[in-house]
């Protein structure tokens, strides 16, 4: 009995952890929404995403950011990305990322899981 209870408890914890982490495979599918302006490895209308996690917002030297993004003081982490992606113009007033945001928390979590995995991947040899 104790063994089965322990199994159930472990399964619950494992499930909760998986949920907390987000699903990068689903996030990859969501990333196509970003594809009008962003790519992993090079700058487009928006800056490249390689090296994003831990990077200070507005800090790629040769990219033309909005003054608002340069002054934001944000460092990109799972937490700050979650807040930004929920409503970019609200968090950074004056940003040129004029996108209403992703309202579904699970979708944001999955997208961030993909970014965490792939912005430090082999596709990012020149990441700064």
């Amino acid at each position: 009995m104790w063994r089965s209870a322990l199994t159930v408890a472990l399964a619950f914890v494992a499930g909760a952890a998986a949920g907390a982490k987000g699903d990068p495979a689903r996030g990859e599918k969501l990333y196509v929404r970003c594809a009008a302006c962003h790519a992993l490895a090079y700058d487009r209308v928006g800056p490249r995403h390689c090296g994003l996690i831990g990077r200070k917002a507005g800090s790629i030297a040769d990219f033309d950011y909005s003054p608002a993004m340069k002054k934001s003081g944000i460092v990109w982490t799972a937490n700050t990305l979650d807040r930004f992606l929920a409503d970019p113009p609200r968090l950074v007033r004056g940003t040129t990322m004029t996108y209403a945001g992703i309202s579904d928390p699970k979708e944001r979590k999955d997208l961030i899981a993909y970014l965490e995995r792939n912005t430090a991947s082999a596709e990012c040899p020149k990441a700064k």
């Binding site: 196509v32 970003c34 009008a36 209403a100």
Partner: protein
């Protein structure tokens, strides 16, 4: 799924493509904003914000024009697909022209095309690669306009952006169809 790419006769393929897609871009989108010189006065304090949204869209349209140029000059596209790419590029030019004029009406400065764009040209080996690349850009454009529509202070601009969104969605569907994929995979765009 049948594709006009599988038809040997280019004229027949073109007729099939045009017949299926109804791609003639309505003049309504252009009429939404052309000649509306009172736009800036109406928009008031929201004008700068609206101009910023339009400028982001303009930057993406200018990149799309360059991307289709790369595709057209790649030597990888055969007729009628080449004609299709040139036609879609023409739509993006029309969008960019309208967006630039509207940014000016709102008192903003339209962004200019970059001197150089980076595209994954090394990954484009055949016609399907080019179509896949273009389809991803068009799908992204649909999402971008969808994300912009609710942000405008001026509802006429939301309507115009939605009109452009519809055009980008048609591009995406036709490109998917050309690749032999389900042209409209979902009931909703995201």
């Amino acid at each position: 799924m049948s594709s006009f790419l599988t038809i040997a006769n280019p004229d027949a393929a073109r007729r099939m493509f045009l017949g299926r897609s109804g791609l003639l871009l309505s003049g309504a989108a252009v009429a939404l904003l052309a000649g509306r010189d009172v736009l800036a006065a109406k928009s008031g304090g929201a004008a700068a914000s609206d101009a910023r949204i339009l400028n982001t869209a303009l930057g993406a349209e200018l990149e799309a024009i360059a991307a289709y140029q790369v595709g057209a000059e790649s030597g990888l596209l055969q007729k009628p697909v080449l004609d299709l790419a040139v036609q879609f590029q023409g739509h993006h030019k029309a969008h960019a022209d309208l967006l630039a004029k509207t940014v000016q009406k709102l008192g903003g400065k339209p962004v200019l095309a970059k001197r150089k764009y980076e595209f994954p040209v090394e990954a484009l080996k055949n016609q399907a690669d080019v179509l896949q690349f273009a389809a991803k850009l068009e799908q992204g454009a649909v999402s971008a306009y969808l994300g912009a529509v609710p942000l405008f202070g001026n509802r006429d601009l939301s309507k115009a952006a939605a009109s452009i969104l519809g055009d980008e969605a048609m591009h995406w569907a036709i490109l998917r169809n050309a690749l032999g994929e389900n042209p409209v995979p979902d009931a909703f765009m995201a």
